[in-house]
Symmetry: C2
Subunit: 351 residues, 2 copies
């Protein structure tokens, strides 16, 4: 098998994570950003929580209080015909998402060996702004010099925007504002300047027409972004024909910037593939995967809060191996060591 | 009547604008950006064109050739049941916009008296990039020093993004790239720096949840934008409860930044109202119109390519009067002189 899943998988499970407050339970600890800090491997987990249900006929919705800072709970009746509860992640009303069933924050987990993680008892970044009223999700971490920059989904009734924060030690974090407006997700900063400019991949979701596809932008300072250009779109009939978005922060290789990204076809299975971008001109796509290098096959990938999902937000290069951490089934964190050559073998040239 | 519509309205009609190429006709000359340049009033018109129909049973769709630079025409059969032609502006397929019925470019019209305009024979900015394949629309012009910056909708199958261009003379223009990714429209740059920073209003359109509402962003250089913040949203039940977006470039007044904006209620009539933003802290809304100061009432506003629309992209302050230019019925340009006090009289404090 080319992909070597870690024998200890899942490396973080929901029961490893203490809830942030009494009366809440952890539904998922997944889609973590990844960094190496000193001699530790850091996972910045997305922790999705919800109130412990007290009556079977009710659905409890957690969200930030309008005054900010605290969490309030809305009680819905599961039998209420106005609402559609069929997707475990959301409550819909008139065909539109009206609420999320969980509130996510970011939590640090630390490891010396990259396999056995200790999870912090307290959140690292908890929603506190109106733009975070429905949670903060799916972080990516990019080390630039001695600073770590965290991009994350800042979710509120106004849509999903892109937050930016920085830290040097994964103990204190500073928010740097919203770097992109709604609707946008899956944002990754490149780990170095290219010809003097910072670059980011992002995935806008237009409403009237157009699809959720990958774009690239430039910045002089990481906070302000411009020169947006379309990078790569859905494939015609392959594994990434229905959905796609950037996954791990780009990794410099001899062949180009290696971007691990997620895709799904009409069957809604989220798989991982890769793209290679030109080192000097990252808006140029050299190659992309004709088939995924990882599909949801293990039990913890097929079954969970939202089954059939492998979704990476971060990976580390160790020699000729990519150590990829990834969320499995929107519930737990897993790890796999993948020979770089096996990722290259999935690539087809883009012309 | 407080609003004094110009007796010469419409000040630019479709027949005043020569088509950009043989075999095409002009469907609309509307939604113009406005500037004062030397002793001339400039309108930067959105000119919407389409091929002259040759057979009644066909619909001809103009768009940029994939090779760029030239225009090609797609022929559809009006009886084709796959398509929905009920909205004059678009062709829909499976409930989604699949094509536009016209291709827009930007064209300069010049006037010494602000009323009688001479329209250039050649386009000022014509679509030429893949991100402009479906046209460029609805410009706003902001003079900063001796330069004029033009923001416009850059429309392609990838969605509606925001283009930026500059000129000093309205004869040659330089594109500065896409300043915001899809889906976003109605972008206005403030005419001066505030506490060292440039500001812009924009109107993202999120897909999954959230509404088309007004945001504000900051920039060090006009090209790169960050610190996005929600500014103001749809009202509960008033004239702007269904749609809204910035209109004219903010005008400095004693009471604050005056922003003329368009809104519509469920009846889909586009009206014009105003908001006042704090001069020193433009992310703070001081007041907004409880009722519109201009509604589509004149014949050329009620009837046209898409009737029942007044839509301003630019206005000039002349003493205590706002001279507002506006697109009427998605077809022609009109002008009205509105006493500043009459706009103020529509405002209600925001708390």
């Amino acid at each position: 098998m080319p992909v070597i899943r870690c024998e200890e998988n899942p490396v973080v499970r929901t029961q490893d994570v203490p809830p942030s407050r009494p009366g809440f339970r952890v539904l998922g600890a997944f889609n973590a950003g990844v960094a190496v800090c000193g001699d530790e491997t850091i996972l910045l987990l997305r922790v999705a929580e919800a109130p412990v249900p007290d009556r079977e006929e009710d659905v409890l919705i957690p969200l930030l209080s309008e005054s900010g800072g605290d969490v309030s709970v809305i009680r819905l009746m599961a039998a209420d015909a106005r609402y559609d509860f069929s997707d475990a992640r959301v409550v819909s009303e008139n065909g539109r998402i009206a609420m999320l069933t969980s509130l996510s924050h970011l939590r640090v987990a630390r490891s010396r060996d990259g396999v056995r993680f200790a999870v912090d008892r307290e959140p690292a970044l908890f929603p506190q702004l109106p733009s975070e009223a429905w949670g903060i999700e799916d972080p990516r971490i990019t080390q630039i010099g001695d600073r770590y920059y965290v991009t994350y989904s800042s979710v509120s009734p106004r849509g999903v925007a892109v937050g930016l924060a920085e830290t040097t030690d994964f103990r204190t974090f500073t928010r740097l504002g919203l770097m992109l407006p709604p609707e946008n997700k899956d944002v990754m900063l490149f780990p170095e300047r290219i010809d003097g400019k910072y670059y980011a991949l992002h995935r806008p979701v237009p409403k009237s027409f157009g699809a959720p596809e990958m774009w690239i932008a430039e910045s002089p300072d990481l906070a302000h972004w411009g020169n947006h250009r379309f990078l790569m779109g859905l494939s015609e009939q392959a594994w990434d024909s229905a959905r796609m978005g950037g996954g791990a922060v780009p990794i410099r290789t001899e062949r180009g910037w290696l971007v691990l990204y997620h895709g799904a076809d009409a069957s809604h299975r989220y798989c991982m593939g890769a793209a290679l971008l030109d080192l000097a001109e990252p808006s140029r796509v050299i190659a992309r995967s004709a088939r995924p290098f990882l599909e949801p096959e293990a039990d913890y990938e097929r079954n969970g809060f939202f089954g059939g999902v492998v979704f990476s937000c971060g990976a580390i290069r160790i020699g000729d191996t990519i150590r990829m951490y990834y969320g499995a089934a929107d519930e737990v964190m897993a790890m796999a060591d993948i020979p770089l050559q096996d990722i290259y073998d999935t690539l087809a040239d883009e012309t």
